[in-house]
């Protein structure tokens, strides 16, 4: 375990979200959704929203902390942080950045937030409308490689070829998320279960790796969580959940243009995951519940492999609904329904779910869960992941 560590210094004291909508269905503006999530997270923590003094987000969130601070009437804005990188790779990193600010005294109460109304701005699943393209896009868009499903399909095709992975693996990940969403009234797919026949018959988005149900939703919503020092969290309303470790980055030339990453059939966690475990002082075997960002089920699969939960050659046996479903599966996964079936809250909803698991408040509770892992935005760069724990895991 590293001596320079965030372990146990910062706690997540509050979580909150807006109502989750299909894209285009929110009656409220994106900025209003952001405020709703932040106010609810403060309420959950039992603090006044005007006590918030810092903000951390990712993926170029449009809700500027200075505007939020002005709207909330924050008297002393002390920390405003944006994690580089698109996609959801920055979710865990944003939590880590906020926690670093709290641990080092830059701020006392940092909210990590993400507001995303794809119905009010550009949908992620559509190509950009530009008539000309340059840079990396010039080598992809003219050939019909424009959406994330198309940009990341190549990685998965090669991974599944190399290790003989069946598409049933991907179906199991999708069906698990939908199964969990049936117990989650917040979920957009609440009341809409998914069986194997429907999965197998769903249309290809990108053959041979992404069927419709392998792809995340496009939604309108916002989520937020509140970070305070471990000492302060003890006096607040909820049972504190502690950050044990976080890591971000990517391996050799992961961002090389035109799909020239050295370790291409990968979710980008080859060097990040070992650093995470080293800092936390735990192994994959110790984790009780896993939230792993679904842009695509292929990313979930590769990220879980790279975090050491199963060897690449073992995917066909490991990834079954029985193994992944709460409460008794071998490794309960995405217990809120996640980006696939709860809401594509750009992964922040999965962080909220990890907190709820460790408080004992999940709609798919894993009995006695003490350690939760969150994996963010597989296949992009930089990616990030973190481990949270209950108070007893700090002993």
């Amino acid at each position: 375990m590293s001596a320079r560590s965030i372990r146990g210094k910062v706690a997540i004291a509050g979580v909150g979200e807006s109502t989750y909508y299909k894209h285009g269905q929110s009656p409220d503006a994106e900025f209003v959704l952001a405020l709703q999530a932040i106010v609810r997270a403060a309420e959950d923590a039992g603090i006044n929203p005007q006590d918030i003094d810092g903000f951390a987000s990712y993926s170029n969130d449009r809700s500027d902390p200075s505007r939020i601070g002005a709207a909330l009437g924050i008297p002393d804005l002390r920390f405003s942080n944006m994690q580089f990188g698109g996609g959801g790779g920055g979710v865990a990193a944003a939590v880590a950045n906020g926690a670093a600010a709290v641990a080092n005294g830059y701020a006392d109460c940092v909210v990590v937030f993400r507001a995303l109304a794809q119905g009010q701005f550009r949908r992620f699943g559509q190509g950009a409308p530009d008539p000309t393209v340059s840079g990396d896009a010039a080598y992809m868009a003219p050939y019909g490689v424009m959406s994330p499903a198309q940009k990341y399909g190549m990685r998965a095709t090669r991974f599944m070829h190399d290790y003989g992975v069946s598409n049933d693996v991907l179906g199991a990940i999708a069906m698990t998320s939908y199964k969990h969403a049936q117990n989650n009234p917040r979920a957009v797919m609440y009341g809409r279960p998914l069986d194997k026949e429907s999965y197998d018959n769903s249309r290809w988005i990108v053959e041979p790796v992404n069927r419709l149900f392998d792809c995340c939703q496009e939604n309108d919503g916002a989520a937020a969580l509140i970070l305070v020092s471990a000492e302060r969290a003890k006096d607040l309303k909820q049972k504190p959940v502690y950050l044990l470790a976080a890591a971000q980055g990517s391996d050799h030339r992961c961002g090389a243009p035109v799909m020239n990453a050295t370790n291409f059939p990968s979710s980008s966690f080859a060097t990040v995951a070992p650093r995470l475990y080293e800092t936390a002082g735990v192994t994959a075997d110790d984790i009780d519940v896993l939230q792993s960002y679904e842009n695509f089920t292929t990313g979930v699969m590769m990220a879980i492999v790279e975090h050491g939960f199963c060897a690449p050659e073992e995917c066909n046996e490991f990834f079954t609904v029985e193994n992944l479903a709460a409460p008794n599966g071998r490794m309960p996964l995405n217990t809120s329904g996640g980006n696939l079936a709860e809401c594509y809250m750009h992964g922040l909803g999965l962080q909220l779910e990890a907190v709820r698991q460790l408080r004992g408040q999940s709609c798919n509770q894993v009995e006695g869960a003490k350690l939760a892992m969150n994996i963010a935005g597989p296949m992009v760069t930089p990616v990030s992941s973190l481990i949270m724990g209950t108070e007893e895991t700090l002993q």
């Binding site: 699943g125 559509q126 190509g127 950009a128 530009d130 008539p131 000309t132 393209v133 340059s134 840079g135 990396d136 896009a137 010039a138 080598y139 992809m140 868009a141 003219p142 050939y143 019909g144 490689v145 424009m146 959406s147 499903a149 198309q150 399909g153 190549m154 990685r155 095709t157 090669r158 070829h161 249309r203 290809w204 988005i205 990108v206 053959e207 041979p208 790796v209 030339r253 090389a256 243009p257 035109v258 799909m259 020239n260 291409f264 059939p265």
Partner: protein, 148 residues
């Protein structure tokens, strides 16, 4: 424009505003495949960058190479995400590695039937696809099975 693999109206490539990849796009207009080779250590590099990732030399040069490669990975988009693709069915994209150039990878469409079986490791060769009628004419590098 006729004879292109994808319909007219797709986004048109233009060189980077900072000039980085002008030699590549000019080369395609001459039906030549130009890629980067380091003047410092001799290593091949792709995609274009101002610096060699091996020796950090700024002396990146452009060299004509033979358009011969192997299919490294592939995908077949069915869901159209651009208006120009709406009337079209599925199309095939390949990621091709060039064994003669340190296995650098290039992206293109695999010419031929949309439902053809794609085999990772199959030998392919570059085909130049001119778009002479575009506002700024350009040429794409496509791929077909070797000997097809």
């Amino acid at each position: 424009m006729s004879g292109s693999y994808l319909p007219a109206g797709m986004p048109a490539p233009v060189p980077s505003p900072d000039g980085l990849d002008v030699p590549y796009w000019e080369g395609t207009r001459r039906n030549e495949l130009m890629v980067q080779k380091c003047g410092g250590c001799g290593g091949w590099q792709w995609g274009p960058e101002w610096m060699c990732h091996r020796c950090n030399s700024f002396d990146m040069q452009w060299q004509k190479v033979e358009g011969k490669g192997l299919i490294y990975s592939w995908e077949r988009p069915w869901h159209p995400v651009h208006p120009a693709l709406k009337p079209m069915g599925p199309y095939t994209v390949v990621l091709v590695e060039l064994p003669s150039c340190d296995n650098i990878r290039m992206i293109g469409n695999l010419l031929g039937a949309a439902d053809q079986e794609v085999i990772i490791g199959a030998a392919v060769e570059a085909v130049f696809e001119p778009h002479d009628d575009a506002d700024t004419p350009f040429t794409l590098v496509q791929w077909q099975l070797a000997g097809a």
